[in-house]
Symmetry: C2
Subunit: 224 residues, 2 copies
C-alpha cells in the first residue's frame, strides 16, 4: 500500500500576501507543514503541489518533492477538484492525504491518527472536522436540539464543521467519481475525523496569524 | 417600554476558579460586562443576578443594581430556565436582555444593535449567533451543502451557532411558556443576531483567557 502526502500551496494569496512564506515561531508556514508531514512517519512520499518554483525549491530543501502545478490550475478560478485530480492522474498510489499549510496548529499526532484511520477504516474520503458542541440553527430551524426544551449544551450531539486542515482520499474512488462527472471531494464512503480544540484554526488574515502565535505558545506542549 | 439588562454571575465556577473576578486588560470580567451594559445607553436598568454578596457589591460600586439570586438557583444543577424565570417574576418590564460576563469581546455597538433588533423586530426571543461559513455535517449528513459537488465555502448559506453571549426575551411570552410547562428560552417567534468574528469567544479555561487577551488587543480598535 502506498500513501502520499500532498501539500497544496500557491505563492500568490489574496488577503494575506505570500501567506505561505509568513512565519510562525520563525518557520515559514509552508516549511512547517512539510516538516510535520515528514516527521509523522506515515507517508511513502511527501509532495508540494505548487505552481511556484520558489516554493518548489523550499520543498526540496526541506526534504520533500516538487510537483509543479500547471499554471491554468493555479489561479483563483481553479477548483480543488481539478488540481487534486491532476495530481492523482500523475502519481500512482492507494491514498492521498492533502495537508494544508494554513492550518499550522494541526499536530503531528493528528496527522498520524488521521492517516491511520483513512487507511484502516475502509472509507474512501476522510474529512477533518471541528466538533461544535453548542446549539446550531440552519435556516432558522434547530439542527442538533429542539425549541421544546433547554438542554445542557455539553449533552448535545455535535455538529461537525469541516476544517479542511487535512483531507484524505482513496485514489481510485476519487478518480472514478471525477471522470464520471461526479464529485471527487466527497466520493464514496465519507467519514470524519475530529480535531483537537484549536487545531482547526486557519490563517487567512494578519489577525489570524497573531492568534495562531498565541495558540501555538499555549498548545505547543499539549499538541506536540 | 421598559428594557432591563440582566447579567447572571456566580462566584463559584468549576473549571476556572472565580472566573468572574479574573481580569482582562486590568478589569474583572464581571465589571467589564456591567460597564459595557451601562455605556450602551439602551437599558432602563442594569441588574446583576447573583447569589454572591461580593459580586453584588461590585455591581453596586459599578453603578448597577443587585438582584440576589436564591441559593437553590445558584448551584450547578440549577437551569437558566429557572433563574431567568425567577428574575422575570420579580421585575416588571417588557424585555430582558441577558448579558454574559464570560463573553468579554462582545462590543458595546453589538449590545446596542442587539437590543434595538429585539425591541423593534417584533420577535419574542433573540439569540446571538456566530455564523459558520464552512460546510457542516450532522449525523454524517451535510447540513448546508451537498456531497454532489464541491462549492466555494464562501458561497454557502451559514450554519448559525448559538453563542449565548447575549440573549433577549419578551417577558410576557417567556413567562407564559414557562408557566404552561413549555420552554422560555426559545419561546414565541425566535430570531437570530449574528456577532462579529471574534465576539463569540467565551472564557471557560485559563487558555481561553489568554486567547481573549490576544483577541482583545487586536479587536479593541475594531469592535470598540
Amino acid at each position: 500500500m502506498k500513501v502520499i502526502c500532498m501539500i497544496p500551496a500557491r505563492l500568490g494569496s489574496q488577503r494575506l500576501k505570500q501567506k505561505n512564506l509568513r512565519t510562525l515561531n520563525g518557520v515559514p508556514l509552508f516549511a512547517l507543514a512539510v516538516r510535520k508531514a515528514l516527521s509523522a512517519g506515515v507517508f511513502d512520499e511527501v509532495w508540494a503541489n505548487t505552481e511556484s518554483d520558489e516554493l518548489g525549491r523550499l520543498a526540496l530543501s526541506e526534504g520533500a518533492q516538487f510537483h509543479k502545478r500547471p499554471e491554468k490550475l493555479a489561479d483563483n478560478t481553479a477548483t480543488s477538484e481539478d488540481f487534486v485530480y491532476e495530481f492523482f492522474s500523475r502519481h500512482e498510489c492507494d491514498y492521498v492525504v492533502q495537508l494544508h499549510s494554513i492550518a499550522p496548529l494541526l499536530s503531528v499526532e493528528e496527522i498520524k491518527g488521521f492517516t491511520e484511520l483513512l487507511t484502516e477504516s475502509g472509507c474512501d474520503t476522510l474529512l477533518s472536522v471541528e466538533e461544535i458542541i453548542l446549539e446550531c440553527l440552519f435556516d432558522g430551524s434547530p439542527v442538533n436540539f429542539t425549541f421544546a426544551r433547554k438542554e445542557n449544551s455539553q449533552d448535545l450531539k455535535p455538529v461537525e464543521k469541516i476544517a479542511w486542515s487535512i483531507t484524505g482520499w482513496k485514489r481510485e474512488t476519487y478518480m472514478k467519481a471525477y471522470e464520471s462527472g461526479g464529485c471527487g471531494t466527497y466520493s464514496g464512503d465519507v467519514k470524519s475525523f475530529p480535531l483537537k480544540k484549536y487545531s482547526a484554526h486557519v490563517i487567512k488574515t494578519e489577525e489570524d496569524l497573531r492568534i495562531a502565535e498565541t495558540l501555538y505558545s499555549l498548545t505547543e506542549g499539549i499538541n506536540g
